[in-house]
């Protein structure tokens, strides 16, 4: 069969693009909530900050698993 057009490269790149959608939305929600809570109650900003980073880290881990597994299974 003749190819009219072909794309070369790893499909892992597409996979990672898809995998980053969820964590992207999630991280956005975390910071949106933090900004909103700080705007409503400025004195709570220091109190909520550790939870922001924990939430951020837990969500971000998914995107980073995507990078790591992209390389592991790129094979």
């Amino acid at each position: 069969m003749d190819y009219v057009a072909a794309v070369e490269g790893s499909t892992a790149a597409i996979g990672y693009g898809l995998a980053a959608i969820g964590p992207g939305i999630g991280v956005g929600l975390v910071f949106a909530a933090y900004i909103q809570s700080t705007a409503r109650q400025p004195e709570s900003s220091r109190m909520t900050l550790p939870y922001v980073w924990i939430g951020f880290a837990v969500i971000e881990a998914l995107a980073l698993f995507g990078i790591a597994f992209g390389f592991i299974w790129a094979g």
Binding site: W53, F56, A57, E60, L64
Partner: protein, 265 residues
Amino acid sequence: MFGQANVLAAGQAAFPPSVDDFYLPAIVPWGAENAPWFTKFTLMIWLAVGVLIIFFLATYRNPKLVPTKKQWFAESIYGFVRNNISVDMIGHQGVRFAPYFTTLFCFVLLTNAFAIIPFFQISPNSHIAFPAILAVISYVLFNYIGIRHHGFGKYFKHALIPPAPWYILPLLIPIEAFSTFIIRPFSLAVRLFANMFAGHMLLLVFTLGGFAMLNANAWLAPVSVVSWVMTVALTLLEALVIVLQAYVFTVLSASYIQGALAEEH
């Protein structure tokens, strides 16, 4: 897999950087591939250990009531970790763990910082081995603390059985076990590793991409400047990630210890 790292000076920079670029030639014997005994990473780790020991010894050798500049610097690092991480996360018991968290924070911060310090320019944490050992230390610590605080049986009962109706427990217990004893150390290690790995990869893409465009043709050559400007901008982003990941690693360790010490679920 363990190919020679990219050599810029020889003009043979291979453009899409790959995992091979993380396996640098050894220092002793010089330039050897696959020699595990003394590499740039070995040097950086020992350097980080040495610098931290000497820094804290030197700054606290002769503490004054009115602190000198160096003492103030060391005390603010310790004070930050103690007040903003240990005590904020764990409560008044957190003071006990402040030395561990300070060591952890400084060590991760310094080894991460090698990613953007000229001539080092790669972080040891971009190899999973180093974050994995750090995660294992925190893992052993929070389990040990929990077992010592509650006793063996009560600690596991506490960690595994949430207050829920009995019919949902067969579903919840495996989830709790999986998330507490497997996912926690794994995600702690992978988070740090993947951040440093991705950061280094990003810088490589833009640096080597600049060289690739410079060598491609006359029309693309000026665009390489844009690529290098991006490298500078991403180095600043990397600086942010370095501090953030050191902080996040320490805060999560603190939150796991807090979970192990907590009285009720």
